[in-house]
């Protein structure tokens, strides 16, 4: 790891100012991802701006939304009684993430910006288009069990690893930013980019922009939600496939539904066509199966991850059956 400077910022504006005035800066919150990336040589920075003391650690409710400060810790949000009650999928997604130790350290802002677990990306000696643009993507012909079946291409097939981002996608959250050019708010659906030919560019964040908070609209639907995570060991592991689902039915008919998927896409995956296919129809195994087929219609599986095509459909069936009382 190369030598770097370090400043503790005392306010969001100060953090942005310091970042704007230093070369190759990065914000550091819990450091649970950033420091590993720097140690592994996957990322290098000249200056770190500590954003743990900006007063951005609220978890607050107003009449319309839940406001989560970027500096709130994963544990704080996951265990908040009202989050558990009103946004079960959010709490479950966080509790299914990492380990208690990591959740105590890791922030919401850092979680949204954590980088892919693709082994080639984290090995500075391997080629990787995301880390070193133009060097190639060894995962496509190599080990890709953990990789995406949706939203990839010839340049990169890495999944976005955040469980939180999947839940927030299903919940139509908004990410609030502060940058040298001022404040702005970006709906999460527009926050993450597909890799295209520039997999190094993962979000719409502009240089020096700070995440200040995430807003989640309060809806009755959110209270009827679940997060299902499938993985290669019981805890402390990223998703092979995950589904965040919220469902409201009257009688058997689907009144409203929100779905987002993890482990399958190059970004937290939301496909409105899948929800549209269910909305207004009776919730049956067949209807879910049709929606699932729609989800994977454009899937591009590779040698190691073909099983995800089937597994994600089964996960969808499982979570909707449970939420809809189908068994």
């Amino acid at each position: 790891m190369r030598t770097f400077g370090y400043t503790v910022a005392r306010s969001p504006a100060e953090a942005v100012r310091i970042a704007a005035s230093t070369s190759a800066p990065a914000y550091v919150a819990g450091g649970t991802d950033l420091l590993n990336l720097m140690r592994d040589g996957a990322q290098a920075h000249d200056h770190l701006v500590d954003v743990n003391h900006l007063g951005l650690d609220e978890v607050a409710f107003d009449s319309r939304r839940l406001r989560v400060g970027a500096g709130a810790r994963m544990r704080q949000v996951a265990e908040h009684p009202r989050v558990r009650r009103e946004f079960p999928m959010l709490s479950e997604a966080l509790l299914a993430s990492a380990s208690p130790q990591v959740r105590n350290m890791a922030s919401i802002g850092g979680n949204l910006l954590q980088r892919t677990r693709c082994g080639y990306f984290r090995d500075a000696a391997a080629p990787c288009n995301k880390r070193t643009p133009g060097s190639g993507c060894p995962a496509i012909a190599g080990h890709n069990r953990g990789h995406a079946i949706l939203g990839g291409g010839d340049h990169c097939i890495a999944t976005h690893p955040s469980d939180l981002a999947v839940a927030l996608s299903a919940l139509d959250a908004t990410v609030h930013l502060l940058g040298p050019g001022g404040e702005r708010a970006v709906p999460i659906a527009g926050f993450y980019l597909l890799p295209g030919a520039t997999p190094d560019k993962e979000t719409v964040l502009r240089p020096g922009e700070l995440i200040t908070r995430v807003d989640v609209p309060r809806t009755a639907l959110a209270g009827r939600s679940r997060y299902l995570k499938l993985r290669d060991r019981a805890t402390f592991e990223f998703a092979v496939v995950s589904v965040a689902a919220a469902l409201r039915t009257s009688g058997r008919v689907v009144r409203d539904v929100r779905l987002a998927f993890g482990g399958v896409g190059t970004r937290p995956w939301r496909d409105l066509r899948v929800e549209d296919a269910l909305r207004g129809r009776p919730l049956t195994v067949q209807a879910i199966a049709e929606a699932g087929r729609l989800l994977v219609r454009d899937a591009e599986p590779r040698e190691g991850n073909t099983f995800k095509v089937e597994l994600v459909q089964r996960a969808l069936t499982s979570i909707l059956s449970e939420l809809g009382g189908l068994r």
Binding site: G119, L230, D232, V240, E310, S318
Partner: protein
Amino acid sequence: MSGLVGQGVARVDGRAKVTGAARYAADQEVPGALHGFLVMSTIARGEVVEIDTRAALAHPGVVAVYTHADMPRLRVPDFPYNRPYIPMQDARVHHNGQPVAYVVAQTLEQAQEAANLVKVRYRAQAPVARMADVLDQAFLPDRFRGRANEDGRGDAAAALAQAEVRVEATYSSPMQHHNPIEPHTTTAVWAGDGTLTLYESTQGVAFTRNMVTQAFADDPPKDVRVISPYLGGGFGAKGPTYPHTLLTAAVARLAGRPVKLVLSRAQMFTSNGHRAEYRHHLRLGATREGRLTAIADTSTAQVTRLDGRIYNSSDSTLQLYACPNVHVRQLGVRLDLPTSSYMRSPETTAHFGLETAMDELSHELGIDPVELRIRNHTDVVQQTWAGGEPERPYGGKHLLECYRAAAEEFGWARRNPRPGTTRDGDEYVGWGMATETHTYGHIDSEVRLTIGPDGRATVRTASQEIGTGTYTVLSQVAADELGMPLGHVTTLLGDTTYPAASISAGSSTMPSVVGPVSEAAKSARAAVIALAVADPRSPLHGVPAAEVVAEDGRLLASGDRGDTYRDVMARHGQEVTVTGRKPNTRGHSFGAVFVEVRIQPRLGRLRVTRVVTAHDLGRVLNRRTARGQVIGGVTWGIGFALMEHTMVDPVTARVVNPNLSTYLVPVCADTPSVTALFVDEPDPDSQALGARGFGETPGTGVPAAIGNAIHHAIGRRLRDVPFTQDKLL
């Protein structure tokens, strides 16, 4: 005897370990030590053309950057040095992640960053990385450590041709890594008189000393001392000696300063061996009554371009069941990967195939899996072509008792044998079992026992504490034989200034060292009693020595006459020192493991929900540490079965998951509580108070037992570990 042996005594070093007082190798603060860091190759095959060290040398704090150009020439030591070459002796690169330069700096961080700044240019050749691509080039490697790769008895081919029932299948397991939590580390200190001291994390201080001495034979140190009082796990990774140790010693000599090296986790994936990828093609022949008539196992394992060492033998295939016709062939295929090595319970790869095939046979025949094993039980060590020894009975083998005890505890009698018939909610429940067995070794060891003027005892032997409880058990054995409270005995390990002792690998610590400790304690007790009865100041003066017994620190004779170790030794005023030796022999330990799994086949979700084991390890020396071995073995068995897997890139032959966040090992939630039963019968053949080597036996059957339980749950036969959820859908 005070009955201490066998008790579940708590670890005598437990407090030091949990408070941090225990000094592990890298905790050793050596004044003036520099920090080393290795630069590893990024190609798998070819040679170094140029190394540009200018930027690294310009980095603050950097003292030197060594390459093959200036590394002293060393001699390749014999086994247990694990490689057929020493890196950095020439420009050749044999695998990805091989040391090509060695940076030495004032701080670790400086050394690490300077290592990033070393620029290496290579002439690379395309490596062969995948076993599947070159299976047609499999060959029968030469014997290794005197052992042939082809063995058996009778005529398996003929017996198979005539068999009433046959099972034939291929069972495979991937490359795996030991991953002890403590990384490998060496601190090399050369004294002015030419003595080399190594603070090392090693499973065998005496072996490391020997290997280092051999490597430096052209310019020998005056002496080599190796110190390794505690290990944070080894699992075989620290058994053989590896290049980093030799290179660090060489570099410290060049630099004229002590050098400390700690390997990074990623470096551990190419520096210290691994379990090779294996395929076992197995054929069983049997009568309709379930008697084995033939076992043929042709296995293929990864070896390297330069050597053909096969580390995972097929002992259970040859010996576990009574079978007149057996044929084992262990083939190798050459890949451009590091040399493999022994990894925790090495025999598991072959045993996984055998115990799964036995389950398949039981299903085929409609005979209960336990009953099938009972019908093929043997109480004799069977002859093999290579083994040479005539057939002879085991001194003790209580495997039948293990089957009975574990089956009863588990409730096996209630099992409905038809696969896919037991459900609980949306989960299918499967019960499976397997036999457990592993070879244990023995290496002649010596112990020095001193009774001080304070009447307390100190045991010294160059054995090791690798986390298994060596300090505790040796103290127990000594205290028991001396007739002293446990707290009056101190055991000192892991230093080559103590008498040479066994490597802590191959389950050989207890069989090798317990006998010598017990012998030494016996002599020491006799010596102190002799002092007492000869001393006119002792109440025991004149009592025949044979009539004095030692108990709880006191020396007692009839008629209320007594003395104490403390008083006798205080009057004597000087130490009493004795040595103990007791050769032993190698052998096998046995057991049975029963597991319950619950599977949601729609999602491929699997949980191991119950594990019951029963083991025959001869005499149990400490129930608590023995149980610890069972829990650890079962946990690793679950890892082997469900998740452990090193991935190598097919193009670059580079490990893709060299860290603990992508090389998965079980967490607590994957591991149910384990009911561990012991038969606890002394083995008359063992010179270690009837105890056998045991550490590697638990877990050997777990992968097969889980696979067999999966078959019972959902009717699907899996033969390729790890059993990940995609295989269960």
